[in-house]
């Protein structure tokens, strides 16, 4: 079955893509055992380490954010599938330090289970590891229990603020406090226009009619809260932002970070048009936008759509958000 993608053997996707990435960023990242990504120049051991894990197929996430000011290590699974627990443990072991390690887990059951097993192994070996679960998807309702809400692109700014805190020398309690505060104050919604091809199976990962869109999509083709007629960019922005602002209880005078994360085929042109609407609505409501992030950070192959993530920011979070970082796919100079 010929798939319209630039690939070789669908069975080797993750291995080959990780090799390519490691070759491209040879001086900056180091690939271990094929699927563990570390900084080429490790962070001093007196600073807290940040580790994450997740499936492949979402490039540049997650490994594209390994580097100064963000992650120390990323553990890669298979396409859209969590990495195995022993590998997560291996990464935790590799960055082991007195200062402690924070493992950032996105709420998807495979990731959570692998992490739990790895954390248990780590604790048995006396490693100083803490963990945080992102679950900022509000598709099932902002009030739904955390366990029912997926972790979406919000992990990326969370790596950024927690990574900056770690880089500044915050101890593990303070790094965790920053991460938890950011985590509590963020919310994400995804919207899809067109499906993507699962690069291992060649199948479309979901279906949508030609005149429909779906708000609340997951990032592996899991459906959202039902399809609806296509809206304009302005209408889409308002529909999503209204729910997000309510979820984080943003009010006049608040500072708000907005991330518009392209799913794959949606152009930056469109994201700019959507951002224009977002910025206007925020200004209308007296909410101050903090330098936003607009681009492709956590993709779903060539799905058309985007995730809108907002986070209510305090001054410390703003400072950490704007602090320098230098990773292959997110840099602040």
């Amino acid at each position: 079955m010929a798939m319209k993608k630039f690939i070789n053997d669908p069975a080797n996707l993750t291995v080959e893509l990780m090799e390519g990435m490691a070759l491209a960023f040879g001086g900056r990242i180091r690939l271990d055992s094929g699927k563990l990504v570390f900084r080429a120049q490790p962070k001093p051991r007196d600073k807290v380490a940040l580790v994450t894990l997740g499936g492949a197929g979402h490039e540049p996430a997650l490994s594209g954010f390994v580097g100064r000011g963000m992650l120390d290590a990323s553990v890669v699974g298979e396409i859209f599938a969590a990495p195995a627990a022993p590998k997560v443990f291996q990464a935790l072991k590799a960055v082991e330090r007195e200062a402690g390690t924070l493992l950032v887990v996105l709420n998807h059951s495979g990731d959570v289970m692998s992490s739990n097993i790895a954390l248990e192994m780590a604790r048995k070996q006396g490693l100083h590891v803490r963990s945080i679960l992102t679950h900022e998807d509000i598709a099932p309702g902002a009030g739904a229990p955390a366990s029912e809400r997926r972790g979406l692109v919000g992990c990326v700014p969370l790596y950024k603020v927690a990574g900056a805190a770690a880089e500044e020398g915050f101890d593990i309690d303070r790094v965790c406090a920053v991460a938890e505060r950011f985590n509590r104050n963020m919310a994400t919604l995804a919207v899809a226009l067109r499906t993507a091809t699962h690069p291992s199976t060649g199948q479309a990962i979901f279906e949508l009619a030609e005149d429909e869109m779906e708000i609340g999509m997951g990032q592996h083709g899991e459906a959202g809260t039902g399809s609806m007629k296509l809206l304009t960019a302005d209408e889409t922005a308002r529909a999503m932002l209204d729910r997000l602002l309510e979820a984080v209880q943003a009010k006049a005078g608040d500072k708000l970070l907005v991330v518009l994360n392209g799913a794959g085929a949606t152009t930056l042109m469109e994201l700019f048009i959507v951002y224009r609407a977002v910025h206007r609505i925020l200004t209308e409501r007296g909410i101050e936008p903090v330098s936003p992030l607009i681009g492709e950070y956590l993709t779903v192959q060539e799905m058309a759509g985007f995730q809108m993530c907002v986070a209510r920011m305090d001054d410390e979070l703003v400072r950490l958000w704007q602090a320098p970082c230098d990773t292959p796919y997110l840099k602040v100079c």
């Binding site: 859209f80 590998k87 097993i117």
Partner: protein, 220 residues
């Protein structure tokens, strides 16, 4: 009382279960496409390959064999299935006596220990449309059979039957865990792929023994 399970029996059970899972790869992916992300067949194939690979290595005891299989499965990059199935096998190893032959009671104890370790990974309960809907009744059937003094093959026949029923029952359930949860009521109408995998696993366990021995007449 019939013969217990020896090392070779257990190896055969694992081998048969793995082949059955591989043979049903497409079915499992299809089921996962309906309610999840469509990769369950791929993942269970990798899980099966990991089981088969662990059978290549020489392990001294049944317990060691289960532990090795459990670790192999746990080491698969396989979404939710690998930690769940891996934990189940590791739990079986933990609950498995070091004896060279397992009685029906030994098997039941191992299965119960496997179930406990599985449950430690997830808050899901029976009725939540997950693997547990097949696994819990299967283990319970084996336990009852053992308490009635039935040998392992008869116990597994009942377990396989219970797993099959359990997997079928998931069709009318609404998913509470895993990716299918996001579908809400739309998850009703299609069987849970994980539960079907568990039913294939027990079918394989039983078939391995049934192929080795005279099939008991009172079971299909």
């Amino acid at each position: 009382m019939a013969a217990g399970l020896c090392y070779a029996d257990l190896a055969g059970m694992l081998r048969e279960a793995a082949s059955l899972l591989q043979a049903n790869r497409d079915l499992l992916s299809q089921l996962d496409s309906a309610t999840g992300d469509g990769d369950h067949g791929t993942t269970m194939s990798l899980v099966a390959a990991a089981i088969l690979e662990s059978l290549e290595a020489v392990t001294p005891t049944a317990q060691a064999l289960l532990e090795s299989a459990g670790w192999s499965v746990l080491s698969v990059d396989g979404g939710s299935a690998s930690p769940l199935v891996g934990s189940f096998l590791l739990g079986m190893a933990e609950g498995c006596p070091p004896s060279s032959e397992l009685s029906g009671g030994d098997l039941a104890a191992a299965l119960e220990s496997g179930l406990a370790k599985f449950r430690a990974q997830t808050p899901a309960q029976v009725g939540d449309k997950t693997m547990l809907d097949a696994l819990a009744p299967a283990v319970e059937a084996a336990r009852v059979a053992a308490s009635q003094g039935l040998p392992p093959d008869r116990a597994l026949a009942r377990a396989a039957e219970a797993a099959r029923h359990g997997a079928e029952s998931t069709t009318s359930l609404q998913a509470k865990y895993g990716r299918a949860r996001n579908l809400g009521p739309r998850s009703i109408g299609s069987a849970d792929p994980g539960a079907v995998s568990i039913s294939l696993l027990f079918r394989g366990f039983h078939a391995a023994l049934a192929a080795n021995r005279t099939p008991p007449l009172q079971e299909r």
